[in-house]
Amino acid sequence: MTYLKETKTLKNEFVVDSSNYSLQVISTTLVKYNGTEITYTPEDGATNVVYEVNFAISPYPDAQGSYLSTRVQYSDDNGSNWSTINETKVMEGTYSSASDYDWINLSYTFILSPWSGERKIRLAGRSFNTSSEFTIGRQHYITNQVGDPACPHVSIFSVKS
């Protein structure tokens, strides 16, 4: 019988809000990705904070594909002001001159430097242009049957070395 008695991942916290989540259409205005925000205070002496997010996008409302410009943002004043962590900026997606209806599952793991006190963390983004808009959380089960909105799933934890 083997037990893991001690771990070096600390203060795990999770966010998933399936009951209150609604579809989010992303266009060319920078907005937060709903359901990705988490408030977190790192463990004392933490060497890193790991922030993980998983969600899926659909190509709607246009059909030629989706281009996301995504970044991690944080707020130290309870959400009044947000700053972008530059090294987390990433362009993703696929685009075609034909309608190719790409549905994409996105999985993120960011290693962040620790901070003191409480901080809000979230993902924010926009589409590259109006032909590459996308919808977070849209599902189709069978032909033209739109399913329940699928919310992002978020975890965050401290690491101590």
């Binding site: 019988m1 991942t9 594909g65 281009y67 362009m91 696929t94 960011f110 290693i111 590259f128």
Partner: protein
């Protein structure tokens, strides 16, 4: 590590530390991947496993982008390697720990940009080992670039994405 016996006489083994190694690849230089296997910057890490826990999870996140100078599509083969001498002479592919990832290979204007998460469970490591990812393009007509984006927020804007590597005992 300590060992105890329960009331049934079974040996109970307690592992005092579940190791986790975190490596953040800061500001990695853009890599153009051709048809030769190349180590992906930031993917190399070392872990010392205990005698009784020798399963390791390896997770590495990196950015793959279209290289506009070489074409309209890309096709990669990615594989995990292990070593016990920091890849000087002891270099071994980890069986079953590999994958392909590509853009749309038919539509010539279907440009794909993607983060990729390599995630593997590795059996049978005991002692100190180094792990790394290597990759190559299917051909020199299908070469991507890693780590660097040429576009963002609707304009031409170069951004470097830091890699994330997490190796842990499981």
């Amino acid at each position: 590590m300590s060992t105890r016996f329960n009331i049934f006489g079974e040996v109970m083994t307690f592992i005092n530390q579940k190791k986790i190694k975190i490596f953040k690849g800061e500001n990695p230089t853009k890599q153009l991947i051709d048809d030769n296997y190349t180590e992906i910057s930031g993917s190399r890490g070392e872990i010392l496993t205990s005698n009784v826990v020798n399963k390791i999870s390896y997770k590495f996140i990196y950015n793959i982008q279209l290289d506009y100078n070489t074409g309209n599509k890309w096709f990669l083969h990615v594989k995990l390697q292990k070593s016990n001498d920091n890849f000087n002479s002891n270099i071994n592919d980890v069986q079953g720990a590999s994958y392909n990832i590509s853009s749309n290979m038919v539509a010539v204007t279907d440009h794909r940009y993607s983060l990729s998460t390599a995630f593997f469970i590795i059996d049978g490591l005991d002692g100190t080992h180094q792990l790394r990812l290597v990759c190559r393009a299917y051909s020199n007509s299908n070469k991507p670039q890693l780590h660097e984006s040429d576009y963002f927020d609707g304009v031409a804007d170069t951004n470097v994405f830091d890699t994330s590597l997490i190796i842990r005992e499981v």
